[in-house]
C-alpha cells in the first residue's frame, strides 16, 4: 500500500517541503514590557467578565447587568464591615498563597493546601475543646498556635519526604492528603460530638484576642507573615536554594545543594504557614470546624492567585484581593437576585471564565506567534500592529491633510486675536493699575493727608493727557471726594 501511494504521487519531495512550511509557528518570548503583559491580562479579564455577565443576562433577562456590576462593588466595599471582611478574606487567601509560593517556586506542585489548613484548624479546635476552661485563654491560644503550625507542617512533610527520597508524584499525593484530612475532621466531629447533630459548637475559650474589630488582628498577623516570607525568599540563602532546585535539580546537585533537604525544609515551611492560616480560621473566625472550613477549597483558589501573580509575593497581594473581590461581589449579586439564582453557580461560572481567559492570555505573554510568509517570519503582534497602521495610516494622513491647514488657519486667527486681546488687556491692566495706585494711597495715609495728596495727584496726572477716559476718572474722583 505504502509503495503504491508513493508511486501515485509524482513529487513526494515537493509535498514534504510544503508540509514543512507551516503558516504559523510558535516561539518562546523572552522580553515583554510589563505594561504590555498587564494590558493583555486585563483585556482578557474584561472579556471574561463580559462573557459572564452575558451568560447571566441571557439566562435571567430580569437581571440588569449594570446593576449587577454595581453590586459587584457593593459586595466588597459596601460598608466598613464588608470592607474589613473583604480585607480579611483577601488576607487569608494571601496567607495560603504565601504558603504555596516557596513550594511552587521549587516546582513542587502542592495541591494539598486544603488538607494542611484543615490539619491546622482541626488540631486548634481539638485543643480549644479539650483545654477550654482548664487554663487561661492566652495560654490556649499560644499552645494551639504552635500545635496548628506543627500539624500543618507534618501534613505537608509526609508527601515531601516521599517526593525527596522516592520521587513519588507529589500532586497526586497532596491531593489525596486533602481527603484524608477532611475525613479525619469528620471522624473527630462524630467521635467527640455524636449527640449534638454532629456539629462542633462554637467554642468560647481560646479565641484569638479582638483588636478594634475581630478582623483587624488577622489582617495584621498575615501582613507580618508576608513581610517575613518576602524577606526569606528574597534575601536568605534558603530562598535562593529553593529557586535553584526548582530550575534544575541537576544544577542544584552540581552546585552542592542537598535537594532532598531543600524539598523537605521548604514543604515544612509551606505546611506551617497553611497550618497557621487554619489556626487563624479556627481560632479567629469560626471557633468551630467543618469539612467546609477551607471556604470551598481555599487551597485551590490560592493556587490560582499565586499562579496569576507568577509566584511573586507582592503581585499576589493584588491577585488575592482581586479574586476575593470577585467572590464577594458575585455573592452580593447572587443575594440581591436570590429569587433567580439560588446557589453560587454564578460565582463559579464567572470565576471559572476569568481563570480560563487569564490562563489563555498567559500564552501571549510567554510565547510569540510567528507568521510565515514566503519563508519570512514575523511576529503576529507586529502584523496586527502593521495592519492597524495600514488601516489607520490613510485615515491619519487624511486627517493630517485636513487638519493641518485648518490648524494653521486657526493658529493665524488666534494669534491675531491673541495679539489684539493682549493689547486690550495690557491697556486695561495699565488703566486699572493707575486706578488702583490712586485708590491705594488714601487707604495707606491718614484721612486728612490723603485728601490733600489726592487732589494734587489727580491734577498733575490728568492734565497732560487728553483722552475721553480721563474725564470719566476725574468725574469719579470728584464723586469720591464729594462722598467723603
Amino acid at each position: 500500500m505504502i509503495k503504491n501511494n508513493n508511486a501515485a504521487k509524482p513529487l513526494p519531495t515537493e509535498k514534504a517541503k510544503k508540509e514543512k512550511k507551516k503558516l504559523f509557528h510558535v516561539e518562546k518570548r523572552f522580553n515583554m514590557a510589563l505594561w504590555q503583559s498587564v494590558l493583555v491580562r486585563f483585556g482578557f479579564i474584561l472579556v471574561a467578565v463580559f462573557f459572564g455577565l452575558l451568560v447571566l443576562t441571557m439566562a435571567y433577562s430580569k437581571i440588569n447587568p449594570f446593576v449587577s456590576f454595581g453590586n459587584l462593588f457593593i459586595g466588597a466595599f459596601g460598608s466598613l464591615d464588608k470592607f474589613l471582611e473583604f480585607l480579611r478574606d483577601s488576607a487569608l487567601l494571601l496567607g495560603v498563597g504565601l504558603a504555596l509560593i516557596p513550594a511552587f517556586k521549587m516546582k513542587f506542585w502542592n495541591l494539598g493546601g486544603n488538607g494542611q489548613i484543615l490539619a491546622g484548624a482541626l488540631v486548634c479546635v481539638m485543643l480549644m475543646v479539650e483545654l477550654g476552661g482548664t487554663m487561661p485563654d492566652f495560654v490556649i491560644v499560644i499552645i494551639s498556635l504552635v500545635a496548628a503550625i506543627i500539624a500543618g507542617a507534618i501534613w505537608a512533610a509526609i508527601p515531601a519526604i516521599f517526593k525527596a527520597f522516592f520521587n513519588t508524584n507529589e500532586s497526586l499525593f497532596t491531593l489525596m492528603m486533602n481527603y484524608i484530612a477532611a475525613g479525619l475532621v469528620g471522624i473527630y466531629i462524630y467521635w467527640r460530638f455524636p449527640d449534638e447533630s454532629s456539629i462542633v459548637p462554637a467554642q468560647t475559650h481560646g479565641r484569638l484576642p479582638i483588636l478594634f474589630n475581630s478582623n483587624v488582628l488577622i489582617i495584621l498577623l498575615v501582613a507580618t507573615t508576608f513581610v517575613g516570607l518576602f524577606l526569606y525568599l528574597k534575601y536568605s540563602k534558603h530562598g535562593y536554594e529553593l529557586s535553584v532546585v526548582g530550575e534544575s535539580i541537576n544544577t542544584a546537585r552540581y552546585v552542592g545543594i542537598n535537594s532532598k533537604k531543600v524539598i523537605i525544609r521548604t514543604l515544612i515551611l509551606s505546611g506551617a504557614i497553611c497550618g497557621f492560616v487554619g489556626f487563624l480560621i479556627a481560632s479567629g473566625i469560626d471557633f468551630s470546624i467543618t469539612k467546609e472550613t477551607t471556604h470551598r477549597g481555599m487551597g485551590f483558589t490560592a493556587i490560582m492567585a499565586v499562579w496569576l501573580a507568577k509566584f511573586n509575593p507582592i503581585i499576589s497581594i493584588g491577585t488575592a484581593m482581586f479574586i476575593t473581590f470577585i467572590t464577594k461581589g458575585m455573592s452580593q449579586v447572587q443575594m440581591s437576585n436570590s429569587r433567580y439564582i439560588t446557589d453560587d453557580s454564578a460565582t463559579n461560572i464567572v470565576m471559572g471564565l476569568i481563570f480560563l481567559f487569564v490562563i489563555a492570555s498567559e500564552f501571549l505573554v510567554e510565547y510569540k506567534i510567528m507568521y510565515n510568509k514566503n519563508g519570512k517570519e514575523t511576529d503576529i503582534f507586529e502584523i496586527i500592529g502593521n495592519f492597524f497602521k495600514k488601516v489607520f495610516g490613510p485615515v491619519g494622513r487624511f486627517l493630517k491633510k485636513v487638519f493641518v491647514p485648518v490648524g494653521r488657519f486657526f493658529k493665524k486667527v488666534f494669534t491675531a486675536v491673541g495679539r489684539f486681546f493682549k493689547k486690550v488687556f495690557v491697556a486695561v491692566v495699565r488703566f486699572f493699575k493707575k486706578l488702583f495706585r490712586i485708590k491705594d494711597k488714601p487707604e495707606k495715609k491718614p484721612v486728612k493727608d490723603a485728601i490733600d495728596s489726592f487732589d494734587e495727584d489727580s491734577i498733575e496726572d490728568s492734565e497732560p493727557e487728553k483722552s475721553p477716559s480721563k474725564k470719566a476718572t476725574s468725574g469719579k474722583k470728584k464723586s469720591q471726594k464729594e462722598g467723603k
Partner: protein
C-alpha cells in the same frame, strides 16, 4: 448477607467511577494530568439531561416505553434514549476536554492550574444549567427520565416469565425477587456498556498501534516526536475522547440517583475520587473495573452495615489511604509499567531544549 444485598447498588455507583476512571486513564496515558474531571462530569450531567429532555419532547410521545409490552418499538425507543443521552453527555464532556487541551496543548498553559479552572467552571455550569433545565416542567421530566433509564434491558432476556414490572421504581425483572445473586445482574444497560468499554480501551491502549503511539507521547513526547508521531494530535484526541467518556459518567450519576439532583457537590467528590482511582488502578482499565467496585463498596458500605458513624467515616476514608499506599509502593518498587506516564503533567514544546 449485607454485603450481597449491597452489591447491586455498589455496582451502580462503581460505574460512575469507572467511566471517569477510563476517561482519565486515556488522558493521563497521553501525558495530560486532567484535574478538571469533576468539572467535566458536571458538563456531562448537563449534556445528559439535555439529551434526555430532547428524547422526552420528541421521541417519547411517538414511541412511549411501556412496561407491559416490550416489543420492537419499545426497544428502538429505549435504544434512542440511551443513544441520545450518551451522545449529548459525550459531546458536552468533549467540549470541556477541548477547552482543556486547547489551553494546555496549544497554548502550553500549566496543566494543574487549567484543570482546577475547568473544575470551578464546570461546577458553575453544572449548577447553573441544571437549575435552569429543571425549572418548570423540566423537573418532572428529569424525574421521569431518571426512572426510564432505570429500565433494565438485560432482564428482558434474564427473566423466564417475561418482564416483571415493579411499579414503584420502574425496575424490571429480578429486582423485586428475593434472589440476591440475580439482583446483582439487574442493572441499567449503561453498566454493561461501561464494562465493555473498559475492555475495549484496555485493548486499544495496549495492543494496537494507536495505543502504542499514545503511550509513547505520554512517556516521552520528544522521542515520540522524533519518531514521527504527531504529539499534539494524540494529546488532543486522548483528552477529548477521555473527557467525553468521563462526561458519560456524569450522565450515569443522574441515572444512579434516578433523576434527583441536589447540586454538584456530591458529583464533584465522585470526580476527585476518580482521580484517586486512576492512581490506584495503575493506569489499567481492566484493574479499574475491580478497583471501581472496591472503591464504591468502601464508599457505600457504611450505609449497609450496622456500624457506628466513626467506623463508617473511617471506611469511607480508606479508598484515599489505600491510594496513597499504592502511590508510595509503585514509586518505591515500581517497574516501568506500573509507574505514572513519564511526562505526566508536563507540556511538550518542541523548541524548548
Amino acid at each position: 448477607m449485607a454485603v450481597l444485598s449491597s452489591l447491586p447498588g455498589v455496582i451502580t455507583l462503581s460505574v460512575v467511577f469507572l467511566f471517569g476512571c477510563i476517561g482519565e486513564t486515556i488522558s493521563e496515558k497521553a501525558g495530560n494530568l486532567n484535574l478538571g474531571i469533576p468539572g467535566i462530569m458536571c458538563f456531562g450531567v448537563v449534556g445528559g439531561t439535555l439529551g434526555s429532555l430532547i428524547y422526552m419532547r420528541l421521541i417519547y410521545p411517538v414511541m412511549p416505553v411501556t412496561a407491559n409490552a416490550f416489543g420492537l418499538v419499545e426497544f428502538i425507543s429505549y435504544a434512542l434514549l440511551i443513544l441520545l443521552g450518551i451522545v449529548f453527555s459525550f459531546a458536552f464532556g468533549a467540549i470541556g476536554g477541548l477547552i482543556y487541551s486547547f489551553l494546555t496543548t496549544t497554548l502550553k498553559a500549566n496543566q494543574n492550574v487549567t484543570g482546577l479552572a475547568i473544575t470551578t467552571f464546570g461546577a458553575g455550569i453544572g449548577d447553573f444549567f441544571m437549575s435552569l433545565l429543571r425549572s418548570g416542567d423540566g423537573f418532572d421530566l428529569c424525574e421521569r427520565v431518571g426512572k426510564i433509564y432505570g429500565f433494565h434491558l438485560t432482564n428482558a432476556t434474564l427473566s423466564d416469565k417475561g418482564l416483571i414490572y415493579d411499579d414503584a421504581n420502574w425496575h424490571m425483572g429480578f429486582i423485586s425477587s428475593n434472589n440476591p445473586v440475580a439482583n446483582i445482574f439487574s442493572q441499567p444497560s449503561l453498566v454493561y456498556i461501561c464494562f465493555i468499554l473498559a475492555i475495549v480501551v484496555f485493548i486499544v491502549l495496549n495492543k494496537t498501534r494507536i495505543g502504542l503511539s499514545l503511550r509513547a507521547v505520554g512517556e516521552n513526547p520528544a522521542t515520540a516526536d522524533a519518531a514521527g508521531i504527531n504529539t499534539d494530535k494524540y494529546r488532543y484526541l486522548a483528552t477529548i475522547v477521555g473527557c467525553g467518556i468521563a462526561g458519560i459518567g456524569g450522565l450515569f450519576y443522574l441515572i444512579k440517583s434516578q433523576g434527583s439532583w441536589d447540586g454538584t457537590y456530591e458529583l464533584q467528590s465522585y470526580g476527585w475520587m476518580t482521580l484517586a482511582l486512576v492512581i490506584f488502578t495503575i493506569w489499567n482499565p481492566l484493574i479499574a473495573i475491580a478497583g471501581s467496585i472496591l472503591f464504591a463498596f468502601l464508599y457505600s458500605i457504611p450505609s449497609y452495615l450496622n456500624v457506628d458513624m466513626v467506623t463508617g467515616m473511617f471506611l469511607t476514608l480508606t479508598p484515599y489511604i489505600v491510594t496513597v499506599v499504592v502511590l508510595i509502593f509503585t514509586s518505591i518498587f515500581g517497574k516501568k509499567n506500573v509507574l505514572p506516564p513519564g511526562s505526566l503533567g508536563v507540556n511538550y514544546f518542541r523548541e524548548e531544549r
